[in-house]
Amino acid sequence: MRELFVQASYLLASVFFILGLKSLSRAETASRGVTLAATGMLVAIVGTLMQQVIIDYRWIALGLTVGTVIGVPLGTRVPMTAMPQRIAIALTFGALAATLVGIAEFHDHADTMAFGQRIAVAFEVVLGALTVAGSFVAFGKLQEILPGRPLTYRGQNAVNFALLGVLVLMLGAVVAGVGGPMLFYGLIALAFLAGVMLVMPIGGADMPVVVALLNSYSGLASAATGFAISNNVLIVSGALDGTSGFLLSMLMSKAMNRSFANVLFGAFGSQAPGGAAAAGSSDLVATAISAEDAAVQLAYASNVVVVPGYGMAVAQAQHQVRELAELIEKRGGEVRYAIHPVAGRMPGHMNVLLAEANIPYDKLYDMDEINGDLSRADVALIIGANDVVNPAARTDPTSPIYGMPILNVDEAKSVIVLKRGMSVGFAGIDNMLFYQPRTRMLFGDAKASLVKLVTEIKALS
């Protein structure tokens, strides 16, 4: 009877999780869906605590209390700009839980385990330890504790492949039941090392793909936990988590025009920057514009498209962007925002940053939604974006970003670029957009330039 109740609670939780994720397909229903998923979680926890095998609640109470004390500030205090590293550290915690449960399982039942269970536990700890280490390195890079640039050395790929090869061999041995406990713990240590080595060479700009991929691994680790302890709700949510991470990382690498393999083993940003810059670019001249003139142009535009990039987020300028947009709207113009899939440091990050600045989400447009409409724009205002608006991706087959989907702002009637100087973007290549006859450069810090634009437009009326 009690067992039936437990299983029912798991089934209910699984259904609530799926419905919760389904409600994320629309912004209107999303928040309700998350409440539903949280309810499902509560049901599953209560169900588990009712289980007969649980005889001692003291340690559980300790873990729940400490976890809540740490979890609440991580939920309420972390700023939205820090979301990528927040996710990375959460992946570390989640994978750590899966790994520890796997070790406990092995420690207690190593001799009595069925073959299938042995496979599950082995995968659980390998994926778990890999994710713990990998996400922690990703966290360190995003939080800038570790250097964000790719750390590479000669023969790195060979070393990593060898490491993965040994890992697979050891995994096989553990599954086959040879070698005993030392081999099992060695496997965990090696998976941990592999996690560090695999993420170290990946640069800051590629982190969205890596974080999404680690999300997928962490999901698979908890699904493996489910197999190991015969728990269906773990299998279901692990599978959901795994597919979500996988789909997002596919999407991200597509938006960056890179294959998975290229992100993981390519160390893109490690090419000498500037080496790839167009050699003939020195005779091209970008036309600068003063804040006064740019303000006039924006004030009398009826259709403005803002293209925010990571530079805007770094400058914390989203509130000034909103202020500028409100002024333009007050004067009768329309302001929309064009969001490239890799703007920001994780999937959808830019949308959250703009929403935080009180910019209504129905004004945020995905690349595919707005690209056909950019030729109607009177002014395209580029703030801290570079590679994602580089027309070379469409026109120059020799460019390293050729084929990458971009925002076609070069089709707009005029373009104003807010930029610190003429430096190159992540890809280390020059941007022909800046030399177009219709493009004007407003040099300076993004935030300071926006403040100037706001003052100038106010002075006009």
């Binding site: 939205m80 936990t225 789909l247 959250v352």
Partner: protein
Amino acid sequence: MQLYVFVLAGFVGMLVIARVPPLLHTPLMSATNAISGISLVGSLVAAGAGRSMVSTILGTVAVTTATINVVGGFIITKRMLAMFKRSDRRPSDAPSNAPKV
């Protein structure tokens, strides 16, 4: 049987998650992160079944980290989604600074 559950759930995941718009991809990652805290159910058993000291200690640490994800994950996802607002009025006729829902 369990493989069956895994494959079906993965399939459902594909269908559901492919329909989440890029607008909500960060909340999606944050929500799946919170949901992944379900490894709590495994951790609770390890911590409370009184099997061995090793298992109890590892289980307790696992309960702690999983709880961090559940509690922190759901709170931050709700907080993030609360920021997404529609523009249902023209900004020009929004003179008051009183909070509007």
